[in-house]
């Protein structure tokens, strides 16, 4: 594999984004109370450069980096690619790297770990010493974790999990968060810690390298430290925590260590989420008690402001969910030609392109998709043929509206697993993660005669001979049309 030159830290990533014009340095003071959140939100809705806010009210020495991965350009920069790379190119690179050999992390000495430059223990621990932002007006609290990794380890299996579970500051020593029961951490808690009444050690890492954040967000079966190494082409550097045996990314900006309490809960939420809504009310949720805080000098806190499209919650999750499903379907020998989630679907609709070589192939795809670990995160699967460009919404929408038979093409799956964030779900279903899902089969039936039963697509590129197409395209400007449209 060619040498990968990707940013190894959040700081290197910011520098690369500033250099390419994909981040803006904001020198004037910004208020952590709503103003920073509003800046990030507007950047997301306008598709703007990422804001690097270098002066935070009340918090000298700290800075914010918002909307780190809310554009495909910044995703390409994170991977060390040309910012102008196309989405299929970025996807192909992700698949190539994540199909390579895992790269184990290395543990370094504490003295070499930037995240240990400042250490708060005992009575010095106070989350209010960090510039925790109020991201949206009306949120249930200031959110410590919006773009981060919550690091835990299964005590028996040894599985390490870096997951992006939102975390709200309840008081200076306490955070609460949304941990779904079907998530890796949710399973570890219900499988081991809660029945035993034991606290679960955790560490929250903020200001990760963009590829570590990408790994924490990806629904991959590969452990995140190894996945980060595969994406970066080299081992990620870890360092042991101060108060527990977990290992954290040494180059992270801020580390918060502590214990998830097994028998005590405080309120969490509401919070504006990637669906574009505040869906669930506040409730008593998983509670994190903080024992230590470590951080770099001049630490930068990363902020994702989720809401209506498009932010990294939609863009990156759409990207990684789609590609992980593509890997799963190909591993089962299904002739998929591509999988894509349009970020504007807020990663709710999976579009699968396939060569329709046998009957029931769309149903097989849906059953695998909904039945997999990925399934709770989306509730619609649309299957189109290999002649439809899955990245072109106009083509996909046309296929859906014309080929999906209302009686035979729509299949509802009931009593599946959903998330508490689904706006369309009832309050009861949200509370208990009860879902329902649907397949839109947009394939021509295989038992239709391809000559006489299957309609012919009437479009410029499908109905005219190649020589006529070339003649018309080549003469386009001569006909009097502006620009030589290819």
């Amino acid at each position: 594999m060619a040498k990968i030159s990707a940013p190894k830290s959040n700081r290197e990533f910011i520098d690369a984004c500033v250099a390419s014009g994909d981040a803006v340095r904001i020198k004037q003071e910004v208020d952590w109370d709503n103003e920073a959140g509003a800046i990030v939100r507007r950047c997301c809705e306008l598709g703007e450069a990422a804001p690097f806010m270098e002066s935070i009210k009340d918090y000298p020495g700290f800075s914010y980096f918002g909307a780190p991965l809310s554009t495909y350009r910044r995703m390409a920069i994170a991977l060390g690619m040309d910012p102008a790379s196309t989405l299929p190119q970025i996807g192909a690179e992700y698949l190539k790297r994540t199909n390579s050999e895992p790269i184990a992390p290395v543990v370094i000495d504490k003295r070499d770990a930037p995240c240990k430059e400042n250490i708060l223990l005992g009575d010095d621990v106070d989350l209010c010493k960090l510039p925790v932002p109020l991201v949206h007006d009306g949120d249930g609290g200031r959110y410590v974790g919006t773009w981060h990794g919550v690091i835990t380890k299964h005590p028996v299996r040894g599985d390490v999990n870096w997951g992006m579970y939102r975390q709200m500051m309840w008081d200076g020593r306490t955070m609460s968060g949304a941990v779904f029961p079907f998530s890796d951490l949710g399973k570890t808690l219900t499988d081991y810690y809660l029945p035993r009444g034991e606290g679960c050690p955790f560490a929250t890492a903020i200001g990760l390298s963009p590829l570590a954040a990408m790994a924490a967000c990806a629904p991959s079966p590969i452990p995140e430290p190894e996945l980060t190494g595969m994406l970066a082409g080299e081992a990620v550097r870890l360092v042991k925590c101060e108060t527990n045996d977990l290992e954290v990314p040494a180059d992270a900006e801020i580390i918060i260590e502590g214990v998830i309490l097994p028998d005590y809960k405080v309120e969490e939420g509401p919070f504006g989420e990637y669906t574009g809504y505040r869906t669930s009310p506040r409730d008593f949720r998983v509670t994190f008690r903080v024992d230590a805080i470590t951080y770099r000098n001049n630490a930068t806190m990363t902020i994702s402001n989720m809401g209506v499209p498009q932010d990294e919650g939609q863009l990156l999750r759409s990207f990684s969910l789609g590609l992980e499903l593509e890997k799963l379907l190909k591993s089962q020998g299904i002739p998929v030609t591509g999988v894509y989630m349009h970020p504007r679907s807020t990663h709710h609709m999976m579009i699968v392109g396939v060569k329709p070589t046998y009957a029931g192939i769309a149903m097989q795809i849906a059953q695998l998709a909904f039945g997999s670990k990925l399934g709770p995160w989306f509730h619609m699967v649309m299957v189109v043929d290999d002649q439809t460009d899955i990245f072109n919404w106009d083509e996909v929408y046309h296929a859906f509206c014309t080929r999906c038979n209302p009686e035979r093409g729509i299949h509802v799956f009931k009593n599946t697993t959903g998330t508490a964030l689904y706006p369309h779900a009832t309050p009861h279903d949200r509370k208990y993660s009860i879902g329902s899902q649907v397949l839109f089969d947009c394939l021509w039936p295989v038992d239709w005669d391809k000559t006489n039963d299957v309609p012919t697509l009437v479009s410029f590129k499908h109905v005219y001979p190649k020589d006529i197409q070339e003649k018309v395209v080549n003469n386009w400007a001569d006909y009097g049309f502006r620009g030589a449209k290819k």
């Binding site: 009306g138 500051m169 008081d171 005590y264 309120e267 509401p270 505040r278 506040r282």
Partner: protein, 85 residues
């Protein structure tokens, strides 16, 4: 100086007047600890001059209510088990 507080409720009926309530409230006082929570025994009143502190109310999805209250914080309630303090 009077303190400013905020509470989240699903229904304004949760803020009954004339009796002691136990609520989770957050401070709106300016400073580093703004928006941090505590559990407290309180009394509330729709008469804004009844008690020295003010209480702002948000509903289930964060909507700001136009109803305002005054509040008296009687005492802080510590629910956190002793072994975690």
């Amino acid at each position: 100086m009077a303190n400013k507080w905020e509470v989240f409720v699903m229904d304004l009926g949760e803020l009954a007047e004339g009796k002691e309530l136990e609520l989770t409230i957050r401070t709106l006082n300016d400073g580093l600890h703004k928006y941090t929570y505590q559990r407290a025994k309180v009394e509330v009143s729709a008469k804004l001059d009844q008690f020295p502190d003010s209480l702002q109310v948000r509903l289930g999805r964060g909507q700001l209510s136009d109803r305002k209250f005054s509040i008296r914080v009687i005492e802080r309630v510590e629910r956190l088990p002793a072994q975690y303090r």
